[in-house]
């Protein structure tokens, strides 16, 4: 059997794939957080809850209405996006211009309320959600066996990240978003409806989290706490990448996922903390993050 640094190749590739899958979720979630923070200056602690809502929306769509996985990929983010738009319009909006702590506290409170409600309704044990029949099974790549659904998650997250990046870098809306991230008042004084842009951005960020939640549903159990378990790591990813940096969020998300996977192979004891150690080191050397512009 081929060995690399004393580790069997299939084991190494297996952990690498697992790392890549985790990285896919880190990237999608930190991307939404970064877009929201960049424009709204809100540290969206509800992001994990919105991810959980996405998974629950998919679960409930199937359970109550028979709407399956493929449609849920569209409908669940839409539902969560609309919920987020309502939150932005009725609550978050009142906190712009105040200390960012207020936005953090509000979204943290929203996360606790949402998680509490779902825990009350569905318990903490988690609900199973089956992958669609098209994506069940595994394919032998010769050097390793790839579960099809996991390969799909990596591919789908790459498409989502690239599409979001293109939206921000190559479209008119993205130009407004980038400019407003620098100086929202000036962009608004040119006649751009910035309040609407803020609402859309929060809705889009939440919809991205929900999409990640739908993708995660067949891998994990659908559980009220699935978001809060993940979100702390995702915050570390955003800090490493640089708050507000889109490319930083994507690249750091995948890279740290892979780092974490490799740590599981070579020094499993450290795999739960490796991302936080990297965060601490990055903060010491580059406080604005690897891709951040500096404060």
């Amino acid at each position: 059997m081929t060995m690399i640094f004393g580790v069997a190749l299939p084991a190494l590739l297996g952990q690498l794939l697992l790392g890549l899958i985790n990285g896919s979720f880190y990237a999608m979630l930190s991307l939404g957080l970064a877009v929201i923070f960049g424009l709204l200056r809100v540290i969206n602690f509800a992001h994990g809850a919105q991810y959980m809502l996405g998974a629950f929306a998919a679960f409930l769509l199937l359970e109550r209405t028979g709407i399956g996985y493929w449609a849920a990929l569209l409908v669940a983010p839409l539902i969560v996006g609309v919920v987020a738009v309502v939150i932005e319009r009725t609550m978050l909006r009142r906190l712009y211009g105040l200390d960012p702590l207020y936005g953090l506290l509000l979204t943290f409170g929203i996360a606790l309320v949402l998680e509490g409600l779902f825990r009350e309704w569905y318990g903490t044990s988690g609900k199973p959600y089956a992958a669609p029949p098209e994506l069940v099974g595994a394919t032998n790549l010769g050097f390793m066996v790839l579960p099809i659904y996991r390969g799909w998650v990596v591919a789908a997250s790459l498409v989502v990240c690239i599409a979001t990046w293109l939206l921000i870098e190559k479209t008119r809306l993205g130009t407004y978003l980038r400019a407003a991230t620098e100086n929202a008042a000036l962009v608004e004084s040119f006649g751009v409806n910035v309040p609407m842009l803020l609402t859309l951005t929060y809705g889009l960020g939440a919809a991205l989290a929900a999409l990640a939640g739908v993708l995660a549903a067949p891998i994990q159990q659908v559980s009220p706490l699935m978001g809060s378990n993940l979100i702390i790591v995702v915050f570390a990813v955003v800090v490493v990448g640089g708050m507000g940096s889109i490319m930083g969020a994507i690249v750091t998300g995948y890279t740290l996922g892979i780092f974490e996977g490799l740590t599981k192979v070579f020094y499993p004891e450290a795999s739960n903390i490796v991302i936080f150690v990297i965060m601490a080191l990055v903060l010491l050397v580059r406080p604005a993050g690897l891709f951040g512009r500096g404060a």
Binding site: T175, Y176, R178, A179, T181, E182, N183, A185, L186, V187, E188, S189, F190, G191, V192, N193, V194, P195, R293
Partner: protein, 236 residues
């Protein structure tokens, strides 16, 4: 010559930054096609007047009318759509946008703006550097870009805040030429300027501000007769 009706009318304008009351009843008129300059020392309220008209200073009272339409109740993003184009003192060029993206950022608010070709013909430097990052331009080029940016939109009144500040004499001259070109195209300009030697080459009328209100207003022909007062008021 019969006077054109006022395009922009400001009456009894008060404005605040937080608790600090900085405008104390500003009155001014800008007529169609005119170039009007606000003179005054640092802190007299010139920039605040522009920001209050534009709506960037949100706490304001009094009357601001554009073609009779009241601007004070409008959300910020609608002010530009009423036909105002703002060039801020700090220029406001966006670092995350290229020169071309900066130039085309403001949406069109009316017909009759300059085409990109016309703008590039007026500012050849900007054309040459259109793919550079906006903030990589020199100070003079950034100023030109900030002006060029509002010419595309069809805005009929330009609010220019100290366009010559900190620039070399040859660039100041170039900006003067640009302003005269815009004037010849019939644009109306409200200019804030400390440098009245520059302002006299473009302005039709002047207002002098002190402590957040107007203390004098006169036409360019009367400028020479007021030199002593201006030296006193502006401390130059």
């Amino acid at each position: 010559m019969p006077e054109a009706p006022a395009l922009l009318t400001v009456r009894g304008l008060h404005g605040w930054y937080g608790e600090s009351h900085v405008l104390h009843g500003v009155d001014l008129d800008v007529r169609e096609g005119e170039t009007v300059t606000l003179l005054g020392r640092n802190g007299a309220g010139k920039t605040s007047t522009l920001r209050a008209i534009m709506g960037l200073m949100r706490r304001r009272q009094g009357e601001i009318r554009l073609r009779g339409e009241d601007l004070t109740a409008m959300p910020l993003y609608k002010t530009a759509r009423a036909g105002l184009g703002y060039v801020p003192e700090e220029r406001g060029i966006f670092a995350s946008l290229t020169v071309a993206e900066n130039l085309t950022l403001p949406p069109k608010v009316a017909e009759g703006g300059m085409s990109l070709d016309e703008i590039y013909a007026l500012f050849p430097n900007i054309y040459e550097r259109r793919t550079s990052q906006g903030t990589k331009l020199s100070g003079g080029e950034q100023q030109m870009l900030a002006i060029a940016r509002v010419l595309r939109t069809g805005a009929r009144i330009l609010l220019l805040d100290e366009p010559t500040e900190g620039l070399a004499p040859v660039i100041v001259q170039r900006i003067g030429e640009v302003l005269r070109t815009l004037k010849a195209r019939g644009l109306t300009i409200l200019l804030v300027e400390q440098n009245f030697r520059f302002a006299r080459t473009v302005a039709d009328r002047f207002y002098v501000m002190e402590h957040g209100r107007m203390i004098d207003g006169f036409g360019v022909a009367e400028l020479d007769g007021r030199m002593a007062m201006l030296h006193e008021a502006l401390g130059v």
